[in-house]
Homo-oligomer: 256 residues x 2
DNA sequence: GAACGGCACTTGTCCAGACAAGTTCACCCA
DNA sequence: TGGGTGAACTTGTCTGGACAAGTGCCGTTC
């Protein structure tokens, strides 16, 4: 075994290794179905103990990136659809990840007192002010989604200084240091109302794929409550699950 | 440290421990926000080495069930919505998990040659036989979902010996040793056609939440291709994601 | 040429130890 | 009484070792 290599950049070795292995997989250097180097080789190449290599590999196994059993090195598993927090939460970032041009047309930015229902959803008092934004979102110039967002006044006031036609509210708030930390998404279907129909250029009553989202800050407070309505032929949601790993998703009987 | 306890039931100790810990969390014995016993206590209680305890805890960390850092024992994290493979894949199992009565009415079980499109989806030759099942699914007697399933002939022929009005095809095939191993689900919205509308007792054109599923065997072959259409006020999908952990889900631009 | 057995190699499990980094509590001093 | 320091305790990281279970290849025998 080669000599001990101390951690650099304050990151533990096992994390650096797992990051490196992830990169090798995503770059195609280690491609689907191909075996990884043996543990002994990895220990030798990186000058670390077997336990450290195994810890890095365990992390990849937990993510479903590799699989295998005794006697043979692990192989790279089938890619599982997943998206980073930012790509999933931000339409703009999503469009860019597709190599498509995001667009937006703002219909309204308003400060209003929250009604009973909205206040309940956002854990606010009825009448408490919220900032509401209504936008049409486009992909490569095609109307794709109607977005109705409600932000707490504290967070949303910054939007009066932001050109909501320029792009991602998620990205802008994040750049201001707003810690948007967790999302909860409920997916269902609705009929296009008059506003939806007009903006999306479909008949009133057409089925739309609806995603209702609550976005939480680090302290668990709800910062955003939104309702996005997609043309279903332009956007879907895909998920995979296996016997070995639970999907962090559930089918629920009624709207929360 | 106490003496070595050999594994029983062919399951490694670390897995037995992580299963036990999961049970303690889901039963509420270790409830949200409360710290776990220290590693030293767990080692002592279970008569195992610290490495083994840490391996079990690492598994729970990877699932997001516990979190924490140096100097303090981990705490139980916020519950994340998730469902087991069986509960997500099987309407019957899902209903039972809700404490609701599942029901089904079979409209048809037929053996037919696969058309071009279906054959393509199922990696079959056009004209190759498939077994098609059309059923209405009910929750507590209320029409909830129209299910159109297509099985390979090899798997689906068993259904001619099964009373499809009695319950879960997924459960039945599994009991026959059919290894239904992985699912891929695409979620969108469609307008109810005449059949849907009539079965679900809604107006034609009403928005339905559609889940299209491919079910794979262990060897990666597609065994089932189905199209489930839910009344959106009776069933939704919920998912949560955080900056720390990717959701195994993606928004995609078009139907695969 | 095919089948079987043995051996070398591989991964999976579990143990033990050491050290670093972080937390908490008790005691002492101002 | 309050604040600071040190020690005990806790988790995180890394090392090394041993043994079991599984794989694959090579050699020998039929």
């Amino acid at each position: 075994m080669l000599k001990y290599v101390p951690p650099t950049f304050d990151e533990p070795i096992h994390q650096r290794l797992s990051d490196l292995f992830r990169e090798r997989i995503s770059s195609g250097e280690w491609n689907e179905g191909s075996p990884l180097p043996s543990e002994a080789e990895l220990c030798s190449q990186h000058g670390v103990s077997r336990g450290t290599v195994r810890q890095a590999l365990a992390s990849l196994r937990g993510e479903g990136l590799i699989s295998g059993g005794r006697g043979k090195p692990p192989v790279v598993a089938r890619p599982v659809p997943s998206q980073s927090f930012g790509t999933f939460m931000s339409f703009t970032e999503w469009a860019h990840s597709l190599g498509m041009e995001p667009g937006q047309r703002t219909l309204e930015v308003a400060r209003r007192p929250a009604g009973e229902e909205l206040a309940g959803k956002m854990s606010l008092q009825p009448g408490e002010p919220v900032i509401q934004v209504l936008r049409l979102r486009l992909l490569d110039g095609a109307p794709t989604m109607v977005e109705r967002s409600n932000f707490t006044a504290e967070v949303g006031k910054a939007l009066f200084d932001f050109d909501t036609d320029s792009g991602s509210i998620f990205g802008y708030l994040t750049s201001l240091g707003v810690d948007l930390s967790r999302g909860r998404h409920v997916i269902d279907a609705v009929a296009a109302d008059e506003t939806d129909a007009s903006l999306l250029e479909v008949a009133a009553g057409s089925p739309l794929l609806r995603e209702r989202r609550l976005t939480y800050g680090r302290d668990g407070r709800i910062l955003e409550c939104s309702d996005d309505r997609y043309l279903p032929h332009l956007a879907n949601f895909v998920i995979e699950n296996t016997r070995q790993s639970k999907a962090a998703m559930a089918r629920i009987p009624q709207v929360a």
